[in-house]
Each structure stands twice: as structure tokens, then as C-alpha cells.
């Protein structure tokens, strides 16, 4: 709790930096527009203005600075413009509307969650296999680790199009990407977790004459819970990023990724920025949700982290 004030300070510093950056980023556009509207602008010739930096232009045209915060098509929108756009597209629009971010959010979230569940389930199964089978450990585990260094996310759009050309559309292709991205963090984390009981604890179970199955359910699985949650938090944000990237350049009609691209292509930067911030909020909410579940679970299991 005592870190609330520092966190707020850092957030305020970021927003302050953003607010400052708005002026030079938009100054040239605003100056051009102001001249068309008949306002005084120094230097007067547009060609001369190209040679002046944004900061320099702002200093010689201080009366135009307020306009940079309310420009219609800014290069960098001001925070309050994004906030207004977010409010209008989430709260004031009907959920069924094509412009509602809640609708687009669900289009992105549904495949993310489906893929995440599939990826996590398969990941846990493979981890169990790796822990109990020496062959799988030796042959698959190195590839699982290497695969984490491969920029597979960059290929997400291609996978979508290939599956689309095979007639597979809708939820499934995006879920596949989300599943793939959450799969390996879970495998690597769970293998570590299932192996975390030390020799002493395993010996104790042996003195109890516990079978392998009992050892799994009563010792290995509970011991792996903290590792599982750490992987789940990595996996869910990776899944969300994967779904968004998959939507970006594939001509998807709905979803956060599609909104970002639409705003970019049709000269509506506010739409892009609102989608970007909404995606960030969604990611934060998902990770936050898992943190809460983690804390509650570990507390009940008597393993609450310090």
C-alpha cells in the first residue's frame, strides 16, 4: 500500500511528459491550419516553417499552443482527447454498434481466452509428460526452450491468412496463435514447478509408501502452483498481444488490432489511440485478475508470498 504515492508520481510524470510532447509534435500541423484560418503565424511562409523545429515554432507562436491540445487530426493526440474518445466509444455507444470498443474488445478477448485455456491445458499436460518421461525431457525440452527465442509472433498474420484460405475462419485461427504463445511459458514454468519439491520431500513421500500418482497430486502439483501462476500471467498477456498482432495487417474487420489499423489508414489517430489504450487496459485487467486469484489461492494453500 505504501507504494501508491510513488506509483501515482511516476504515472503523473509519464502523463506530464506526454502533455509536453503534444506541443512540438502537433505544432507544424496546427500552424498550417491556423494560417488557413487567417491567424498570424511566424514565420509566414510554410516552406520556412518546415526548417524550424516543433519547439522553435511553439516558442515563436505561443498563442497557438492551446490549439495543439484540441487539434482534430493530431500526430500525437492529447491525453484528454484520447480519454474523451475512449469514454464515447465504450460507455456512450451501444455495445452492438460497430464503433463500440466494447464490441471490438470482445472480438479480441474471446479468441484470446479460448486460446489461452487450450494453450495452458496442453502446456500443463506436456509439462507432466516431460517431468515423468526421460525421453520427452531430453528430446522435447530443448526445443521448448529454443522456441522461446524465435520471433513467432511476427508470423501471426500469415497463419491467419493460411487458415483463412483453407476455409477456417472466425474464432479458431486467432485462438491458435493465442494458444501457441501461452503454451511454452506454461510448459517451461510448470516443468520447473513440478520439479521444485526437493529430495527431502520426495524421500518423505517414499517413507509413506506413496505411489507416483499420490506423489503427483499431493506434492508435485501443489508445489508447482506459484510457478503456474507466474507462467499464467506471462501467458495471458502474450496471448492478448498475439491476438492483436494477428488482427493488425490481415484486413480483420473487428477487434482492437483492426481498430488500430483503421484509425491509421483513414486518418483518425484518435481511433487508433483509443484502441491502443483500451487494449492496454484489457491487458492490465487480465494480469490484475490473475494476480488476485494468485494471492487468494496461495493464501488458502498457506504459501502466501512475502
Amino acid at each position: 500500500m505504501k507504494s501508491v504515492v510513488p506509483v501515482l508520481t511516476v504515472v503523473a510524470a509519464i502523463i506530464g511528459f506526454w502533455l509536453l510532447a503534444v506541443i512540438p509534435m502537433n505544432m507544424h500541423l496546427v500552424a498550417d491550419q491556423a494560417q488557413r484560418d487567417g491567424l498570424m503565424v511566424t514565420p509566414e511562409a510554410p516552406a520556412d516553417r518546415q526548417d524550424v523545429s516543433g519547439v522553435g515554432l511553439a516558442l515563436s507562436n505561443t498563442h497557438l499552443i492551446p490549439l495543439t491540445y484540441n487539434f482534430v487530426r493530431p500526430r500525437l493526440p492529447a491525453p484528454q482527447q484520447v480519454a474523451v474518445e475512449l469514454w464515447e466509444t465504450t460507455v456512450e455507444k451501444k455495445i452492438t454498434s460497430k464503433r463500440s470498443l466494447v464490441y471490438h474488445g470482445w472480438v479480441t478477448l474471446a479468441p484470446t481466452l479460448l486460446g489461452f485455456v487450450i494453450g495452458t491445458g496442453l502446456g500443463i499436460l506436456l509439462a507432466v509428460g516431460i517431468v515423468y518421461s526421460r525421453v520427452m525431457d531430453r528430446s522435447v525440452m530443448p526445443w521448448a526452450i529454443v522456441s522461446q527465442t524465435i520471433p513467432i509472433l511476427a508470423l501471426a498474420p500469415m497463419v491467419i491468412v493460411v487458415l483463412g484460405s483453407m476455409g477456417i475462419q472466425g474464432l479458431f485461427p486467432k485462438s491458435l496463435i493465442a494458444a501457441y504463445l501461452s503454451f511454452f511459458p506454461v510448459v517451461v514454468g510448470m516443468v520447473k514447478g513440478l520439479r521444485s519439491p526437493d529430495g527431502m520431500q520426495l524421500d518423505l513421500l517414499r517413507t509413506y509408501h506413496a505411489s507416483n500418482t499420490q506423489g503427483f497430486w499431493k506434492l508435485r502439483l501443489p508445489a508447482s502452483t506459484p510457478y503456474l501462476f507466474a507462467s499464467l500471467k506471462i501467458g495471458i498477456s502474450a496471448s492478448l498481444v498475439g491476438t492483436i498482432v494477428a488482427e493488425l495487417p490481415t484486413g480483420a474487420k473487428a477487434g482492437f488490432g483492426a481498430r488500430m489499423l483503421v484509425g491509421d489508414q483513414y486518418g483518425q489517430p484518435l481511433v487508433s489511440w483509443a484502441a491502443l489504450i483500451a487494449a492496454a487496459i484489457t491487458a492490465a485487467a487480465l494480469v490484475g485478475l490473475f494476480s488476485l486469484i494468485e494471492r487468494a489461492t496461495l493464501k488458502r494453500m498457506g504459501m502466501a508470498a512475502s
Binding site: 510513488p6 525421453v135 531430453r138 528430446s139 500471467k233 498482432v245 482492437f256 491502443l276
Partner: protein, 280 residues
Amino acid sequence: MIWAVAAIVIWIFGWWLNVRLANSASSDNTLVKILVPAIFGITVLIVWELLVRGFEVNPVILPTPSAIFERLISEGPRLWADFQQTIIKGSMSGYLIGGLAAFGVAILADRSEFLTRGILPVGSFMAALPIVGTAPIFVKWLGSDWESKAAVVAVMVFFPILVNTVAGLRDTTTMQRDLMRTYGAGYWPTLLKLRLPSAMPFIFNGLKIGTTLALIGAIVAEFFGSPTVGMGFRISTSFGQLALDMVWAEIVIAALAGSAFYGIMTLIEKRVTFWHPSQR
């Protein structure tokens, strides 16, 4: 049909070989440790080749490994040009800028306990965000050449490295700091001789997370605008021409580059943090 049967037979043979090797007496031998995953990988490739040929899968959907390999050989110069544009110019410069900026901010913030407590949660929150979504915005701001890619990469790698560096700089015990004080060491000697070295395992953790992000950022950003060279550009245009073997060739290059980049970081880490328990 015969192809499919051959694929199954080879799969079983490869698996049997691995079972024998992994359960044999010499299974902790370094050679066997490399051999087992290698056999697994080669088996997968052969089965892939056989199945694609056997079921006559359209090369537009999935090309054979041999076709991909052919492309790798015949398109060497072009792949090399793409590699330079995307990896050297885009990823590496962005990685350097982002890493140095994160390091600088971490050193500055570290002087204040207050800032550290604020930066850790905010930074790890930012690291989980879909920052790659800013790619279209950066391409619009900085043009389509490598500068915009470097900017995306810099922002993407900034937060993981920042959080890890800040966390690492806090990772000294009171005992160690007291020892430095008894030596009469000021801020700078303490930083250089105690706190930075002990932060190195954390810093390298951040740097290693950054390697994959750097490649992803540079390739994805090229989907939104690029000169007529670059891995992302090649992937999307070859895709448009239905030359999937070329797409896969680029994937192979990206995978090799990603693993090599990660491997180099691990090697440097081994040299720098030789004292750490995980390296001994």
C-alpha cells in the same frame, strides 16, 4: 499411402532410438544430450516432408522442408539484404537505444527510494502491454525506413530492461553495503564495485527477454510500411505471391537470428556473472 506409412515407421524408429539413448547408461553424456533433441528435430522434419508429399498438400498451404532449404540456398543474397535491413539496422540499433536508455533511467531513478518504488510496478505493468501495437503510429511519425523500426524496438525493450535493472540494483544485502561503508567507499565506488556487478544477473535477464522482442518489433513494424527490402516486407509480399517457401525461408532466418542473439547474450552473461550460483 506408402508415404504415410513410411512417415509413421520413421517416427517410431526415431522415438525408439531416443528412448534407447535417453535411458542408456551414457545419457548424461554431452554428446547424447545434443544428439537426442537433434534426432527428434530431424525426425519431425522427415515426417513433415513425407506427409506433405504423401498427401500432396498444396505448397501454397505448407511447403516441404526441402523446398524451403532450396530457397535458402538460391535466394542467399536477397535473404542477406533483408537480414541486414531488419536485424542489423532495425533490431540492433533499437535494442541498443532502448537498452542504454533503460539503463540510464534505472541508474538515475535508483538514487531515490521513492522513484524506485514507483517505477517497479509501473514498469512491469508497461512490459505486459501490447506495445507492438504502436508500430503503425511510429511508422507514420518516422517514415518507413529503419528508424521507425528502431523506435518500436527501443520502446518494446525499454521496460523489461528498466524493471530488471532497477530490481537488480536493489539486490544487495545490508551487510555488503555496510562493508563498503567501512571501506569509506562513496556512492560511485559502491555502485561500480558492488551494486552493478550484483545487478548483472538481473540486467542480463532483461536483456535476454529483449532479444526476442527486438526481432518481433522490427519484423511486425515492417508490415506497416518499409522500403522494398526487409524480412517483414519479404514475408508479406512473398505471401501475396503465394511463395510460401520464401516465407518459411525468412522464418528460418528469423529463428536462427533469434536463437543466435539469445545465445550470444547467454555467453556474455556467463563471462560477466561467472560468480553467480546459477553459472557454476
